[in-house]
């Protein structure tokens, strides 16, 4: 049964990376609990604009959990707390109760400087991806799908790794500002497939080197990343990346 809830929203305002930033607060009245979290923020912004105030800035794009643009730290959890993991755009107000105080913060990590309010610059992830997160294909037509046989289990596992949408929740949750869950998922999605093997060693080295260069931290296996990942990436990927990287370095 749909019902309406009223609550207080505390949202982070910050004018660029150098600004100190502060919270602002607003009472939200009679919001249907089938509203998505981002729709609720749209309502907030309508109200702010009608009051002649500056709207609250946040990232979003697909609003269907596949692009990785949305990024809010809600009540102490990246993307908000859900039973099995979901992106902020897939979070609904029925997760909240009448009278709640909902605190919305940006990803706070040195490698993700704030652009404005809760919109942060995640281009560091693109740079890591560009350092080797692809398969070099120099020749003509796509191959026939059956030309290389791949066990279903491997294909599934590679697909699970590939579902990482690069949202950065793992970094946001990590006390070490480490990007290992993201990088390991991106390395794994290729390392698990025969097409990815020829460049596997090179890829692991290049992506880790870029990750270090951009100032992400050293993983200490706290598992905070895995707990908040909306795509349920596993730290088994991190073990695989460690393995790939150590093997590659020992072979040099």
């Amino acid at each position: 049964m749909a019902k309406n809830i009223s609550f207080t929203i505390k949202y982070w305002k910050q004018n660029g990376p150098k600004d100190k930033g502060h919270f602002e607060q607003r009472e939200m009245k009679n919001i249907p609990d089938d509203t998505s979290f981002l729709e609720m923020l749209d309502i907030l912004n309508e109200e702010l604009i009608n009051d002649g105030k500056e709207p609250f800035v946040f990232d979003h794009d697909c609003r269907e959990g596949i692009c990785g643009m949305c990024s809010l730290y809600i009540n102490g959890t990246p993307h908000g707390k859900t039973a099995t993991g979901a992106t902020t755009c897939q979070l609904y107000m029925r997760r909240f109760n009448d009278g709640d105080v909902i605190t919305v913060e940006p990803w706070r990590s040195a490698a993700f400087p704030v652009i404005k309010d809760c919109m942060v610059d995640r281009s560091a992830f693109d740079k890591i991806q560009a350092a080797g997160g692809y398969v070099t294909v120099r020749t003509g037509q796509p191959q026939d799908a059956n030309a290389i046989l791949i066990p279903k289990q491997d294909a599934d596992e590679a697909m699970d790794c590939a579902t990482c949408i690069g949202c950065g929740a793992c970094v946001a949750a990590c006390k070490n500002g480490s990007a290992m869950l993201y990088v390991s998922s991106k390395v794994s999605q290729f390392a698990l497939l025969p097409q990815g093997r020829p460049e596997a060693a090179k890829r692991a080295k290049a992506m880790v080197a870029k990750m270090d260069e951009l100032g992400f931290g050293n993983c200490t296996n706290t598992r905070a990343c895995e707990a908040v990942c909306p795509k349920n990436e596993s730290i088994a990927n991190i073990a695989r990346l460690n393995r790939e990287f150590i093997k590659a370095k020992l072979a040099d």
């Binding site: 505390k10 930033g21 919270f23 730290y73 009540n75 102490g76 959890t77 707390k81 605190t103 913060e105 706070r108 990590s109 040195a110 490698a111 949750a173 990590c174 006390k175 070490n176 500002g177 480490s178 880790v208 080197a209 990750m211 270090d212 100032g215 992400f216 931290g217 050293n218 993983c219 200490t220 296996n221 706290t222 598992r223 905070a224 895995e226 707990a227 908040v228 596993s234 730290i235 088994a236 991190i238 073990a239 695989r240 990346l241 460690n242 393995r243 790939e244 990287f245 150590i246 093997k247 370095k249 040099d252």
Partner: protein
Amino acid sequence: MWLTQSSIGRKVIMSVTGIALILFLTFHGCMNLVALFSRDAYNTICEMLGANWYAVAATVGLGALVVLHFVYAFILTLQNRRARGASRYAVTDRPGKVEWASQNMFVLGVIVVLGLLLHLWDFWYNMMFQELIGATGQAHHLAADGYHWIEQTFANPCKTAVYVVWFAAIWFHLTHGFWSALQTLGLNGKIWFNRWKVIGNVYVTLLMLMFVVVAIYFAACGGACCTGCC
């Protein structure tokens, strides 16, 4: 050199030195158990581990392991603090599967070092060190009498309490450290994750119980009942 220049390399240093220290603790714990049964047997071991070249070399190696582990713990922690940045969340909600120890490895490590300094003062200084400086008389006589120093140390209830707290800190450090070290080396995966955790918890608990048992035993009866009267 990738071991020092890459994040994973630095973690490998932590992992390998950590595993070596666990192996050392295993040896040390087993050796201590001998003190529960025989003063002579225990002191024979102490004598073998006196100022002989191999024992001194092993001590230097062990010291190097601790220093490496500590120095890299310090470097990693500093880098990680920088990577996290200056701004802090106003609200945080630690997920259930994040172990407390995993987020406090450095603090636990510092407690371990402080305990270690006390321990070296209580034992090593009175034993190997006295032999190394060529002490004579009573000091020389007691240098190989490890049993005496155990009695001496645990006769003091405050000190026994400090040692037990120290053992607890090492236990916490290792409940995370054990599987973390294997994860760092890449020897982990979806299936082995739970196995390593169980193996690690059982191993580390037995390991630390060996130390606790000796401490409590000597604190309770000062070793007097070592022939089996209690």
